[in-house]
C-alpha cells in the first residue's frame, strides 16, 4: 500500500545511518567517492556553519520540537489509518480509485446497453480477472478484476451516471412539453432519485449482512448495478410519451423491461450472493442457499420493479 508518510521516517533513518558510517570512516580514512561526503556532513553542519538562519534551523533541531513533529506525524498516521479502515470503501483514495469504473469504451457501452434490455444472448456471466484479460502475469494482485473496456460483465459507473442525468433531463423536457415546467423540478427530481437509490443500495447491503454473505463486492459495484435500471426507465419514459400510454401497449412493455432487467441483475449479482465454487472458504447449507436465492429474486424483481414503476409514472 502506498504510504506517503512512511518515506520521511525511512529517509531520516538512512541519513542517520550514512552519518554513522561517515563518522566511523574518519578513524580509518579510505578513499571515498566525492559525492559520498556531502550528505553526512550536511545534516551535521547545518546548525553551526550557517550563522544567518540559526533560529529557524535550531528550532527544528530542538528536541522538544522534534518530539512534537514526531507526535504529530504518528497522530496523523493513526487518523489516516482510522479513516482508511472505516471509510476506505467510500472515499476514492489512491488504492481504491474510481477511475477503474470509468475506463469504458464505445463497444462496451453499446454491448452493455443491449445486455440490460435483452440479456438472453450472453453466454458467460463471469467477471474476468486482470491476468486472464490482458494475458500477462505482471500484476502481483491476482484478485483484481478486469476493467470494463476488457470485460463486458464488469460494472461501471459511466452508464449509471449518464442515464441518471438523461432521465432527469428527459423528465423535465416532457413536463415542458406538457406545459408545466418549473426550474425547481430539477432539484426535486434529483433528490427523489437519489433517495430511491440510497434506499435501494441500503436494502441490498442489509440483505447481504443478514445473510452472512462473505463477498468482496465493494460499494461502488453495487452503485453501478443499481444504476442500470435508469436505462430501462428512460426507455419506458420515451415509449410512454412518444408512442402511447394505453393499457394494451404500455404495460406489457413495462413488464417486459422489468423482467429483462431482473434477469440481468439476477445473473450479475449471483456471484456476489452465492458462494463461488473455486473459493471454498465457507460452505452454506441447502436451506441458506434457498434463502439467498429467494432474497436475490425478491430484490431483483419486486423491489426493482416497484422502483421502476414509481419512477416512470
Amino acid at each position: 500500500m502506498y504510504n506517503p508518510y512512511g518515506n520521511a521516517a525511512e529517509q531520516q533513518q538512512q541519513q542517520q545511518q550514512r552519518q554513522f558510517v561517515g563518522q566511523q570512516n574518519l578513524q580509518h580514512p579510505q578513499p571515498q567517492h566525492a559525492a559520498f561526503q556531502p550528505p553526512p556532513q550536511q545534516f551535521n553542519g547545518v546548525a553551526p556553519t550557517q550563522g544567518g538562519s540559526t533560529a529557524y534551523t535550531s528550532f527544528l533541531n530542538d528536541p522538544a520540537a522534534s518530539l512534537a513533529t514526531q507526535f504529530a506525524r504518528s497522530g496523523f498516521e493513526q487518523s489516516n489509518q482510522y479513516i482508511q479502515q472505516n471509510f476506505g470503501q467510500f472515499l476514492p483514495t489512491t488504492t481504491n480509485d474510481l477511475k477503474y469504473y470509468f475506463q469504458v469504451s464505445n463497444s462496451y457501452v453499446v454491448k452493455k446497453l443491449f445486455l440490460i434490455l435483452f440479456p438472453y444472448r450472453n453466454k458467460n456471466w463471469n467477471r474476468l480477472n486482470l491476468q486472464d484479460a490482458t494475458g500477462d502475469s505482471s500484476s502481483p494482485n491476482s484478485q483484481q478484476y478486469a476493467p470494463p473496456n476488457l470485460d463486458v460483465n464488469a460494472p461501471d459507473l459511466y452508464i449509471p451516471l449518464m442515464s441518471f442525468v438523461t432521465y432527469i433531463l428527459l423528465w423535465a423536457a416532457f413536463q415542458g412539453l406538457k406545459g408545466d415546467f418549473h426550474p425547481q423540478l430539477f432539484g426535486y427530481l434529483s433528490s427523489q432519485t437519489l433517495a430511491f437509490s440510497f434506499l435501494d443500495i441500503s436494502i441490498f447491503k442489509i440483505g447481504l449482512y443478514l445473510l452472512n454473505c462473505s463477498s468482496q463486492a465493494s460499494l461502488w459495484d453495487l452503485v453501478g448495478f443499481s444504476g442500470y435500471k435508469y436505462v430501462a426507465i428512460i426507455v419506458l419514459l420515451c415509449w410512454k410519451h412518444l408512442i402511447s400510454d394505453g393499457w394494451l401497449t404500455y404495460y406489457p412493455i413495462v413488464l417486459l423491461l422489468i423482467a429483462n432487467l431482473a434477469v440481468f441483475l439476477m445473473r450479475s449479482l449471483r456471484f456476489i450472493i452465492l458462494p463461488n465454487l473455486t473459493s471454498g472458504t465457507t460452505t452454506i447449507t441447502v436451506k441458506q442457499r434457498r434463502i439467498r436465492v429467494q432474497f436475490l429474486f425478491i430484490y431483483s424483481v419486486i423491489i426493482q420493479g416497484l422502483i421502476i414503476l414509481f419512477m416512470s409514472r
Partner: protein, 94 residues
C-alpha cells in the same frame, strides 16, 4: 432538496423505533433478546458452545438480533443529539 428532508426524517424515525425497543419487556418475551439466546442455554447444552461461531451464530435471526442490539447500544446518544436538533428546528422554523 425537499425530498431529501423527508428521507432524513424517515430514516431518523425508523432508527428511533428500533432504539426504543426495550430489552427485557419486549425482546425477551418474543425470544429476540440478545441475552436470552446466550445465557439460558449454557448450563444445559455445553457441547453447542463451540458451535456458536460456526452456524448457530450466523443465521438470519441471530444476525438480526445482533443488529438490533448494536443499533440500540451505539445509536442511543447520537440519536438524542439528532432528535434535539430536529425538535429545535421544527419549533423555531416550523
Amino acid at each position: 432538496m425537499f425530498g431529501l428532508g423527508k428521507l432524513l426524517y424517515v430514516i431518523i424515525f425508523t432508527i428511533n423505533g428500533i432504539a426504543v425497543l426495550s430489552e427485557d419487556r419486549f425482546l425477551n418475551r418474543i425470544g429476540w433478546g440478545s441475552s436470552a439466546t446466550n445465557s439460558n442455554l449454557q448450563p444445559q447444552y455445553q457441547q453447542f458452545n463451540t458451535g456458536y461461531d460456526a452456524n448457530e451464530g450466523s443465521s438470519v435471526k441471530t444476525r438480526l438480533v445482533n443488529l438490533i442490539g448494536a443499533v440500540r447500544t451505539l445509536m442511543r446518544i447520537p440519536l438524542i443529539v439528532v432528535n434535539i436538533v430536529i425538535i429545535l428546528y421544527e419549533i423555531v422554523w416550523g
